[in-house]
Point group: C2
Chain length 266, copies 2
Amino acid sequence: MSVTSIPPHKSKKPVSDKSAHSHPKSVVPSSHETKLNRLLGSLPDEDLKLWLPDLELIELPLGKVLYESGDIEKYVYFPTSGIVSLLYVMKNGDAAEIAITGNEGMVGISLFMGGNSTPSRAVVQSAGRGYRLKAQIMKEAFDRSGPVTHLLLRFTQALITQMSQTAVCNRHHSLDEQLCRWLLLSLDRLPGSELVMTQELIANMLGVRRQGVTEGALKLQEAGLIRYVRGRITILDRMGLEARVCECYAVVRDEYDRLLPKELAA
Amino acid sequence: MSVTSIPPHKSKKPVSDKSAHSHPKSVVPSSHETKLNRLLGSLPDEDLKLWLPDLELIELPLGKVLYESGDIEKYVYFPTSGIVSLLYVMKNGDAAEIAITGNEGMVGISLFMGGNSTPSRAVVQSAGRGYRLKAQIMKEAFDRSGPVTHLLLRFTQALITQMSQTAVCNRHHSLDEQLCRWLLLSLDRLPGSELVMTQELIANMLGVRRQGVTEGALKLQEAGLIRYVRGRITILDRMGLEARVCECYAVVRDEYDRLLPKELAA
DNA sequence: GCATATGTGTTCGTTACCGAACATACAGAT
DNA sequence: ATCTGTATGTTCGGTAACGAACACATATGC
C-alpha cells in the first residue's frame, strides 16, 4: 500500500483502502499482546477475559480509513503500535487534524458516548497494528462494568483536552510551533525516534501548505534538531524541540499523564 | 456587576467574581422550572426527584467564573437561560473560546468524565440563571442511573463536536465567517434576537483583535443583517447570517439536534 | 540506464490579520 | 451641562501564511 492512498491536501475525493478494510489480517490475541495497548492493559482481568475471544489483532496500514465522517461505527480500535489521526475534512477538501491516538488509547469513542458516529474521519497516520472489537461487545462492557466505564471516560476526557488545545493552538500559534507540537505528540506515540511521514502529509494533518512545513522543517534541520530524507524524519534533539514548542504540547501531555494509567515498563 | 469583570483580551490576571461565587442567590426549585434546562427536563422523573432537594437555582451574572483552569469542580451547572463559555486562557493572556453551553446542556462534564477538572475556564458570557448541583450527588446519579449516564454522555459528544469544529474553523475560516458562526451559535441559546455583548468581549471569545470584530460587525450592519449600539446587538436577518456563515455552524447545530432530546415546546 | 513518479527547495506577489495609535460617539454621574 | 469612562470607528505599517509556479533531487520500475 502506498502513501498515495491518503488524500492529499485539497483533494476532492477521499480514498479508502477497501481491500484492507474488508479483510484485515486477524490472529488470536494472547493476553500478553493486549498489554501493548495501555487501555487494554489496564482493564481488570475479568473484563479483559470476556473480550479476549472477540479481540482481533489487525494491521493498520498507512492511510487506512477506520471511519469516514458520519459512518456508523461497527468496531472500536485499540492500537498497539502506529498512530491514528482524527481528521475533519471540509466540503472543499481542506482538512484539519483534531486529535491523534496511539497505543495509549482507542478509536471510536462515539460508540459508548451514544452517537455511534462523528462528523470526522479516522485515518492511520503511521502504520502499525491494533485490536479491534465489535461495537456491541464494547457497548455491553461499557454499560456493565464500572472500571471499564471509568477507564474509557478518563481517556475521553484526555482526548477532549487534546481537541481543545488544538483549537487554541490553531488560533494563536505559529506554524513552526505547531509543527513542533505535532512532531512531539507523534513521537510520544511511537517507539523510536523516527517518523515515516512526508511533509505533504504533515501539511494535510495540520491543515497548512506543504511549503510551510518544508520551511519549518528546514529551520529545525538547520538547528540540528531533526534530520529528514524523503519521508523519514529522525528526531536528533528532543529537548531542543521541546524548547521551541508552544505550551500546548505540555498541557496535553500532562493531562494524559494525569488522566490515564501509567505507561507500562518497556 | 459590570462588564469589566471579564478579563479583556491580553489581560494578565483573570478576575473572578468572588462575592457572587461564594453566596449565590438560591431558591427552592419547582419541578416546572427545571424543565427550562433541556437536560434536566429530559431526565426520568425518578432521577429528577432525587435531585430536586439539592438543585439550587442561582444567578449567572455576566462575567461570573464558574471554574478556573485546573479547579476541582465542586458543582455542576445547568443553565436555564444565558450562556456559559468554555475558554482557554494562555500564559500570555491570549484566550480562545472552545465551546459554549446554554440551556441545552450543562457545565462541568469533567466531574463524570473522571478528571474532576479541566485546563479551561468556564465563564458566563451572557447573563442568566441556572441550577447548580453538588458534585457528589451528580456523580452518584451518573454511576447509578443508566438514563442519566446516557443523556449526559450524548451531551458530551455534542460538546466534543463543537470543540472539534472550533478547531477546524480556527484553522481555515475567515474572521467574518467565524463571527457569523459565533453570533448564530449564541443566538440559538438565547430567547430573543438580541445579544448583550460588546465587540471587545466577542473579540476575546474568538481570540482575535477588537478591531477585527468591529470591521466584521460593520459589514454585517451595512448588509442589513444586524444592528448594534454599545453592547447590544440585534439580529435583523437570521437567514442572511446563515448565508454568510461557514459550514461549521450547520455541522454543530445538526449534531446537537441529532444527539440531544428535542427542544420543548416554547 | 532511462523514464517517471514522488519528495523537497525556492521564489513571488497577494491577503488576512496583527499591534499600535488615535478619533469619535454615546451613557451615566455629578 | 459637563465630565469621564466605555464602546466603536479608522488608519497605518508589519508579518505570517497563502496560492501558484517551477527547479531539483532521489527513489522505483522498465
